[in-house]
Amino acid sequence: MLLLVPFVAYLDPAWYDRMEPRVLGFPFFYAYQLGWIALTSILIGVVLFLGRLRR
């Protein structure tokens, strides 16, 4: 289920297709999408970790 979160995050560009707020000079559109790469990676890590705990 956690693995569906990134799909939802990127689903509708209307949510993040804007300039403000800027993050370190990056328009929100770019900051948001780059940030979600890291979050995707972390979510997969969490799923892996939970799977190991269950065993």
């Binding site: 559109f29 790469i37 995707t40 890590g45």
Partner: protein
């Protein structure tokens, strides 16, 4: 003079990795006449080797040239590569760890091997294999295109007869070490390649924006310059581009890990845990890709103006990097083309040898690498000829088509990993319908003479919707499978036998 330094560094590095390619045959003990050893490195790669191998394979040199070029040319729309390279991972995490299990249990080398045993259907196996080969050939050709752009840019001896002489030499070397060392060659070279690539990208995203006044200024300047173009573009999406953006990201992410070269490098992992860990770690490459894409804006902000957008990265590097670093970076791109080209050649050679020729060559011992090795040579030769004799625009069009086609193997391959609810004959019919329809749509978009566009506009309920053709194709595919499966079941048609057992997947 400065170019001499750059070109010497370049030549030295490329020669160095070629040597690595040949010596890779001695890496670990293994009988390279055996297919598992030659094509999958003995299925022994750990987390780190796999990370370099898969990353070096999926993020190709063409990507490094084309993604910034797309952002340079089209603005925000070109950034779809980033969500694409993020959501591919949760998907691959689920699908490929299951596929890895069954492939290890039953000794599969290709996705079509699985489909054959799962559905007991020769025609479906051929369909999956043919799709993979057809999608790989233009992809290999585009790696050659990426190399050619760099060679022509280097000038001098590298650019003799439009870079084709140097290109041919590079490809003969590539074919030779792939033939002798198999997957071990690109795996070993990937270490060097990615170290160079990461060094280049980190240097680029520090040095270049700093010289242009910081990222904030790069975006502002690029936004203003794009808006002022004869054909205006923007650093934000227009509302009518949003669906195209999302569907292209989603559709491409579905295709990324079903390409034969991705399957090949994933199957070389030594355990399921290695595959899963890599799906969590590979997004690091996507971050790098994101920043590379933004170098396209740096090029706009720096006022680099060229008709040939594939040369913007070399131009940008030459302008802002010291010559030796520029040589390193350009070598990284060319080496970055050799790694995926080798794996693509291996992956598609396996499909032809294992899945297409199978029925016609019953004398061949199972697991013999000989035919695959020979076919790898012909794949490389074909790709090289394609680039030399066919205009680049065709290669790009075919590669776009290839991405659309790859998505159409998903019902048989990805859903097939979970269920046998679809009838094999219905899956074949769905594949055929989707391939025909999506190809027709893609060709129709080229009617204006601008080449193929990956998107097509349809009117749904009075609302025009522009979306990625691959997803229209997938919808047709699934619809045909769902409708025909119960019909064929009633007729007791082509049910096929399932050679896999539940234990193979766990």
């Amino acid at each position: 003079m400065t170019h001499a330094v750059r070109n010497e560094v370049f030549a030295g590095l490329v020669a160095f990795v070629s040597l690595i390619g040949f010596f890779a045959a001695r890496w670990g003990s293994g009988n390279l006449r055996h297919l598992d050893e030659w094509a999958l490195g003995g299925r022994r790669f750990g987390t780190i080797v796999s990370w370099f191998l898969i990353g070096g394979d999926v993020y190709t040199a063409y990507t490094f040239i084309a993604v910034p070029a797309l952002v340079y040319g089209a603005g925000a729309l070109g950034f779809y590569a980033v969500p694409y390279a993020a959501i591919a991972y949760p998907f691959a995490f689920v699908i490929l760890s299951r596929f890895w299990n069954v492939a290890r249990a039953r000794g599969y080398v290709t996705s079509a091997d699985f489909v054959r045993e799962r559905f007991g259907s020769r025609s479906l196996e051929m369909a999956i294999a043919a799709t993979g080969v057809l999608a790989s050939l233009p992809y290999i050709a585009l790696q050659v295109v990426g190399m050619k752009a760099v060679l022509v840019h280097l000038g001098g001896a590298f650019a003799v007869s439009n870079g084709e002489l140097a290109l041919t030499i590079a490809f003969v070397l590539l074919a030779a070490y792939t033939f002798t060392s198999g997957l071990r060659a690109p795996a070993a070279i990937a270490f060097v390649k990615d170290t160079l690539i990461y060094a280049t990208v980190v240097a680029a995203i520090v040095i270049i924006p700093a010289k242009l006044g910081g990222w904030g200024h790069v975006f502002d300047a690029a936004g203003a310059a794009l808006a002022a173009r004869a054909k205006p573009a923007s650093i934000l999406l227009a509302p009518d581009q949003q669906i195209a953006y999302a569907t292209m990201a989603f559709g491409s992410s579905l295709a990324l890990f079903v390409y034969p070269h991705s399957i090949t490098s994933v199957l070389a992992a030594k355990s399921r845990a290695v595959v899963q860990r890599n799906m969590a770690l590979l997004p690091i490459y996507s971050v790098m890709l994101g920043f590379l894409a933004l170098l396209g804006y740096c090029a706009v902000a720096a006022g680099i103006s060229t008709k040939d957008t594939s040369s913007i990265i070399p131009l940008l590097l030459d302008r802002y990097f010291p010559p030796w670093l520029s040589g390193v970076a350009l070598a990284a791109i060319v080496i970055g083309a050799l790694v995926p080209a080798a794996i693509m050649a291996i992956g598609s050679a396996n499909l032809i040898a294992n899945n297409i020729f199978r029925g016609f060559d019953s004398g061949r011992a199972h697991g013999d690498a000989h035919l695959s090795k020979l076919l790898t040579l012909s794949m490389s030769a074909f790709a090289l000829c394609f680039v030399i004799f066919v205009p680049t625009a065709y290669a790009i069009n075919f590669q776009l088509l290839g991405g659309i086609w790859m998505v159409q193997v998903l019902p048989a391959f990805a859903l097939g990993l979970y269920t046998r609810a679809f009838n094999p004959a219905a899956l074949f019919a769905g594949w055929l319908a989707a391939m025909t329809a999506s190809t027709a749509m893609a060709v129709a978009t080229a009617a204006g003479g601008h080449g193929i566009s990956p998107n097509m506009t349809f009117v749904f309920f009075g609302q025009p919707v522009t979306a990625f053709i691959a997803l229209y194709g997938l919808a047709i595919n699934l619809a045909v499978c769902s409708v025909l499966s119960p019909v064929f079941a009633l007729l007791r048609l082509g049910k096929g036998t399932d050679a896999t057992t539940a234990a193979d997947y766990a």
